[in-house]
């Protein structure tokens, strides 16, 4: 129990009259809480109580005159009794403990974590991987660690395990042994192969596509390219780069083809993130050149060559394999003319070029041997019609046949 006496209010007073109480017996009071008003010769003063606890007794009534030092209010500071907060009150060397301030909890910020969450490995929980860097390698390749059998101690997944799963080693099929039974090889669709398979299936499943194709006389283009590449000191301009540049110009005229369909919405952007199909030992990859519309022909050529090399080396990062808005496919390198290509979901069109070979063509009313190629455009018919698709393909074909005209659009 603490009795608080009328303090010296600092005005030389010896007594004060109680004006009014702010609390009643039984109230819980906190340190410094104003509990009473008293009147001195000069003013009405509110007095804070220096203890916390439950008011046990008020020692005077309004109108009573108290002398300095007379008991004013008694507060019970027994914690169990008063139900106070478990605060210590003043300790020898400081303020003591205080009740926790309300509302200090930070609102949870759901920042994307740097490490994406992994699926637990079956019922065992987290898969032990030899090092963080190898774990990340697996994640970037889209591997389900649970499907990898770790060859290290206690099932530790090693770097080789991850690389094998990604498919660095080629699966070699063995032929039937001499005079033996049929050999059957089972290769699960895994890793990159699986990712690609899923994407292709989805594309065919979701997109109502149509294809237009046209033959184009590439003779002049090849001459132009040869003269561009005459100077050994300059970077070589590739056919793919030329086609890419024409496609970009075509997309400027037909921007609806530079789009993606996401959740029933056609998303069209001003930038062209150009993907191109690259065949590698690990399967089909589609590196993306971000912001290709801002590149010169030379820059495109260099970037394409670099991306191709890195795709084959397996050093492309995830950012370089996603986010495309349009894809180009040079299947001519396989020695075929045409292809009803599968659109690179969720894009809306894919441009293809076949092999370039000498064929008979009519030039100025005469049959002549020209370098001919076939261009194809597979497109999402929900997004545009034959007029757009045909218009785009015709434009690209015109660029191929008369490359000098392209200057108009630069």
């Amino acid at each position: 129990m603490d009795a608080f006496v009328l303090p010296d209010l600092g005005e030389g007073l010896t007594e004060a009259e109680i004006v009014s109480w702010h609390v009643r017996v039984g109230d819980i009071v906190a340190v410094d809480q104003e509990v009473v008003e008293v009147e001195t010769a000069k003013a009405v003063v509110a007095i804070p109580v220096p203890f916390a606890g439950r008011v046990a007794e008020l020692h005077a009534r309004p109108g009573d005159l108290l002398a300095v030092g007379d008991p004013l209010i008694t507060v019970s500071n027994d914690r169990a009794e008063s139900g106070a907060d478990g605060e210590s009150g003043n300790v020898l060397i400081g303020y003591g403990t205080t009740a926790a301030r309300p509302g200090r909890r930070r609102p949870a910020k759901h920042e994307p974590s740097m490490l994406s969450t992994e699926r637990p490995a079956g019922s065992n929980g987290r898969v032990p991987v030899v090092s963080p860097i190898v774990r990340r390698l697996a994640r970037n390749a889209g591997l389900d660690l649970a499907s990898i059998r770790g060859s290290g101690r206690d099932g530790l997944v090693t770097r080789q395990d991850v690389e094998n799963a990604i498919g660095v080693r080629e699966t070699v099929r063995t032929g039937p042994p001499a005079g033996g039974a049929e050999q059957v090889t089972r290769t699960p669709l895994q890793g990159i192969r699986k990712v690609t398979a899923d994407k292709l299936s989805r594309s065919r499943r979701e997109i109502p596509e149509a294809t237009v194709w046209v033959d184009a006389d590439a003779t002049e283009l090849l001459h132009l390219r040869a003269s561009l590449n005459a100077d050994d000191a300059e970077p070589k301009i590739s056919l793919l780069a030329l086609l890419s540049r024409f496609a970009i110009l075509g997309l400027r005229r037909h921007p609806e083809l530079n789009a993606k369909v996401e959740d029933g919405v056609i998303v069209t952007g001003s930038a062209v993130h150009l993907g191109f199909a690259a065949q590698t030992d690990r399967g089909l990859l589609v590196p993306v050149l971000v912001g290709a519309q801002a590149c010169t022909l030379e820059q495109l050529s260099v970037a394409l060559a670099d991306s191709t090399l890195r795709a084959r080396q397996g050093t492309l990062g995830p950012a370089e394999l996603t986010g495309g808005t349009f894809t180009i496919n040079n299947y001519g390198v396989f020695g075929v003319d045409g292809s009803a290509a599968i659109i690179n979901h969720p894009e809306v069109a894919i441009l293809g070029i076949g092999r370039i070979i000498e064929r008979p063509w009519i030039v100025h009313g005469q049959v002549a041997a020209r370098q001919l190629t076939q261009l194809t455009l597979a497109f999402d018919h929900r997004v545009c019609d034959g007029q757009t698709a045909g218009g785009f393909l015709r434009f690209v074909a015109d660029c191929v046949e008369s490359p000098a005209r392209v200057l108009r659009y630069l």
Binding site: V130, S131, P132, I133, V134, R136, G152, L156, T158, R159, Q160, E163, N164, V168, R169
Partner: protein, 343 residues
Amino acid sequence: MTTTAEQDRALAAGQAVTMAGALNQALSDALSEDDTVLVFGEDVATLGGVFRITSGLAEAFGQTRVFDTPLAESGIVGTAIGMAMNGLRPVVEMQFDAFAYPAFEQITSHLAKLRNRTRGRVELPIVIRIPYGGGIGGVEHHCDSSEAYYTHTPGLRVVTPGTPADAYVLLRQAIKSPDPVIFLEPKRRYWSSEVVSAQADVPLDRAVVRRSGSDVTLITYGGALATTLEAAEADDRSAEVIDLRSLAPFDDETVIASVKRTGRAIVVHEASRFCGYGAEVAARVSEQCFHYLEAPVLRVAGFDIPYPPPSLEEYHLPNVDRILAAIDRLQWRETASVVQAAG
């Protein structure tokens, strides 16, 4: 008092110097260049110090500036604080690591805190020189490694030289620093010598790569530096050796850049492992290099025992073999690429 000495003294390139000699010269040069510098402690004046680090200084600079004190470590540090408050620059000696403990309160409650306590008005540019570490067959209490107590105290700088030439540089810089510095001298290296090459003026709070490498980063300091370099030479992998020099503050930049390149790190120190300085280094490296690591960060340290008697000291101190064994445990096989593994 007037200052007439030339500024910017340094060790001469081509000069052969022991660590003891380098420290002695550093003190001498500091006393010459700045007449607010004092050197005091037990036996430092007439005797020149039990390790002769302060030899000749009292003769050269007089017993007002270089003097012996009564045998009282708290007194030495406490009075140094008062002197620094009055504008002097004391460089005091604690005779051995364990004998600095009586001064612990003055060091942690006052030396480390007075600047902060007075919001920068009081500055204590004091250097406390402490010979530390083992490897000299010393009896009890003469071979402790107490760096963790001081590095854990905010407000102190803790530095330790690993080479003779660097001992000169670090001590000169420590004396010039406006902050209090605990200067830990690896006593086992007092007599090792080197020929001074041209010295880069590395700042007081920076680490130095003593040996470049690409396969693993060995992080160490003070007395363990020489042993670590020996291990690096002996290993057929390419080991990078970093001499921390400054234990507090810590040079994150140099260390992290190295480990990000090598992907593997080991900390080597004499002090016992549990809650030793290496724990902080390992935590920092793990935190900041996590995605670049091929293996956990290991520590090669003394056992968690009071420092052994001379007869058993060799089993306690990190040696070349132990460091090499630790390097071997860094998951080389399990993290090798298929190409490497096959080849």
